[in-house]
Amino acid sequence: MSAADPVGALAARHRWRWPEALPWLAAIAAFFLFPGYLALGAQILASILYGLSIDLALGYGGIVTLGQAAFFGTGAYTAGLLAAHGFGAPEPGLIAAGLAAAALGALSGLAVLRLSGLAQLMATLMVAAMLQSAADKASTITGGADGLQNMAVGKVLGLFAFGLYGRTAYLYALVVLFVCFLGMRALVHSPFGRSLVGMRENAARMTALGAPVFARRLIAYAIAAGMAGVSGALYAQSTGFVAPDSLGFDRSGNILVMLLLGGIGRLYGAFIGVPLFMVAQDRLSDLDPAYWYFWIGLGLVLMVRFARGGLLGLAARWPAGRMRRE
């Protein structure tokens, strides 16, 4: 990176490199190779988007969060409630879900971002826990623990119905993920994204430099929340179902594990960690429906011991590695 030409250096970040096409080629190939796995595939794609939202908040923004499910669930319930009350068109539902979650992110961010470290962690956790209790309790609206019944999701573009085999759901999720990813990639490579990394590394210094730290973090947090909301809506629309577990701690915790597995703050971590975790989960629970968590746990222990920084971190240690942590 040349210090003499900062504008050129920033512009160079936006340039596409060929390995960046791999995830998309793999996703398209998977559509044709595994027709029986498209329901799972759609959930993986939605979870990758969810992983990206965590990567933006935590990996780039340095906001320690254990409550991202608050936004995932808000998006899921927004899309779900719309579909259950006659507004079943998926695309407006998706946008409404993103906006609702982003609004909640901005609102809760006002409180959460004034804290740091462990206190921040607890605050994010509490936001999600409060919402989950509310969803549990407001059973006349949400269906409570039984979940939202009678969702009637319309056809994508008015043409393609969500069927039993998940083909529509898969392609729909893929397109949405791609569009959101383009936005996120442009964002993290922009001066705004660079300033987020600066704040993560040294917030005091960024303040001294005159950067509006709180405002920029709030914007990043709201955008991340919106992405989580869209991901939740994808989940809800493709399964035709929402339950309070979409706001649960597992939903917040597991995605963090998946992202750590892939590599955090690397933009592509979610593309590696999420499919790896979810496919392993699927295969292992097929082989051993009772004790599959053991094997997941063992894998994670080995991962943390031998490959800190996730798989992308491992790859970056090779001399030819190109996926640096930014």
Binding site: L40, Q149, R167, T239, F241, S246, A290
Partner: protein, 397 residues
């Protein structure tokens, strides 16, 4: 775009053709139940019951027909997971039956999928009353909470326990237990002095029970899903001294599930409950079932989920035997919803073809100490052949 849509449709049709079950000599049965996590015990019990039946009766299948059981873990009350697993069992594994479901939220999520895929879904526990109406492909061999709790309410009111407080888990079966008990007690001239609902997931029973103790009702009706929460609730009940304070506990079989009784010490001694099955029943069909169960799984106690898994598999086996292994979903549903037996470990039961729900005896039992020192639910009264009262009170429009 249009060409792409045609291509998709063609691919779908091709897949549909390969799916046709006709002539298959292996009958695939997809089991979705809870195998992992804190809520697993009833799921594992159910799996043991159905596995045991399939093992012991494989010889009764028509020549050349085999049964393959494909197991999936819904991880507890996780309806979205349950729904995806059902979808995969249908699209990947091409199962001809779906079965299992300990928890109603999971079964409610699977039901619309059974309709879409036209796959019979044998519910082996989930007890929310309206579940059978969610799909014409649902048939249930277990019970509904209305069915079990209403006789309990009637019995309580007739035996000097007509001033009752209800405390239930806050989800469909809990509401049903509350509704059934209240309807029963009011029908027999009793009254309700108060009601409380507590969260289903990770509940803390102490504040709930403390508040009830302070209010001091004469009788307390409790419902929690049968399993680890049962023991937790009974221990809290004991620790806070509700029985010593003179509060009389009545409940359904869920709180006093046979498999958890050994973990409760002497706490539940004398507690009256209503239920559809007790492990201690001397009925020959039950003694044979218990003996086979304990031989296959030493040290374990069969409970009502185990019995329901056993009976559910018996229903599926009857379909296979009557049709020689060749049947359409409609034929299978016809046999399942006319199922009747006098020889279940629980006693006689049948399925009402109009509702596809179970009709069976509801027993009033008391926890007693047996000669061997073990606690057991012992029957002393019977409400014969009870059908779901909720369905009668809420006719389908």
């Amino acid at each position: 775009m249009r060409r792409f849509a045609t291509m998709l449709a063609a691919a779908g049709a091709a897949l549909g053709l390969t799916l046709a079950p006709a002539g298959a000599k292996t009958i695939r049965i997809g089991i979705i139940t809870t195998y992992s996590g804190p809520l697993a015990p009833p799921g594992i019990s159910m799996d043991r019951g159905l596995t045991l039946y399939a093992k012991l009766h494989a010889k009764d299948l028509p020549k050349g027909v085999k049964v393959s059981i494909i197991r999936r873990d819904d991880t507890g009350i996780a309806p979205a997971t349950a729904k995806r697993l059902a979808q995969e069992l249908v699209t990947r594994d091409h199962v001809q039956f779906l079965a299992g479901s300990v928890y109603s939220p999971d079964a409610l999520a699977i039901a619309p999928l059974a309709t879409e895929a036209k796959v019979p879904f044998v519910v082996m526990n989930a007890a929310a009353a309206d579940l059978v109406r969610k799909s014409p492909y649902v048939v249930r061999d277990s019970f509904t909470l209305w069915q079990v709790a209403m006789p309990m309410g009637e019995w309580a009111a007739k035996h000097g326990m007509g001033d009752a407080y209800t405390a239930v888990s806050d989800y469909a079966p809990g509401w049903d237990a509350e509704g059934g008990f209240i309807a029963g007690i009011k029908a027999a001239g009793g009254k309700i002095v108060g009601s409380v609902r507590f969260p289903l997931n990770n509940p803390d029973f102490a504040p709930v029970l403390q508040r009830i103790k302070d209010l001091h009702p004469h009788t307390l009706f409790i419902f929690v899903p049968g399993g680890p929460q049962s023991t937790q609730m009974m221990k809290t009940f004991n620790a806070l001294g509700l029985a010593k304070a003179g509060i009389h506990l009545v409940t359904t079989q869920d709180l006093l599930i046979d498999s958890e009784l050994p973990k409760m010490g002497n706490i539940p001694l004398g507690v009256v409950s209503s239920g559809t099955y007790q492990e201690a029943s001397p009925r020959p069909a039950n003694r044979a079932f218990v003996a086979a169960f304990q031989k296959a799984y030493p040290g374990s106690v069969p409970d009502f989920p185990a019995m329901q898994g056993w009976d559910g598999m018996a229903m599926i086996f009857r379909v296979i035997r009557q049709t020689g292994g060749k049947f359409t979903p409609a034929q299978a549903m016809d046999i399942l919803s006319h199922y009747s037996t006098t020889n279940s470990p629980r006693g006689p039961f049948h399925i009402d073809p109009a509702t596809r729900d179970v009709v069976e005896n509801v027993y009033i039992r008391r926890v007693e100490k047996l000669k061997n020192g073990q606690l057991a639910n012992v029957r002393f009264d019977t409400f014969p052949m009870v059908s779901d009262p909720w369905a009668k009170m809420h006719p389908q429009k």
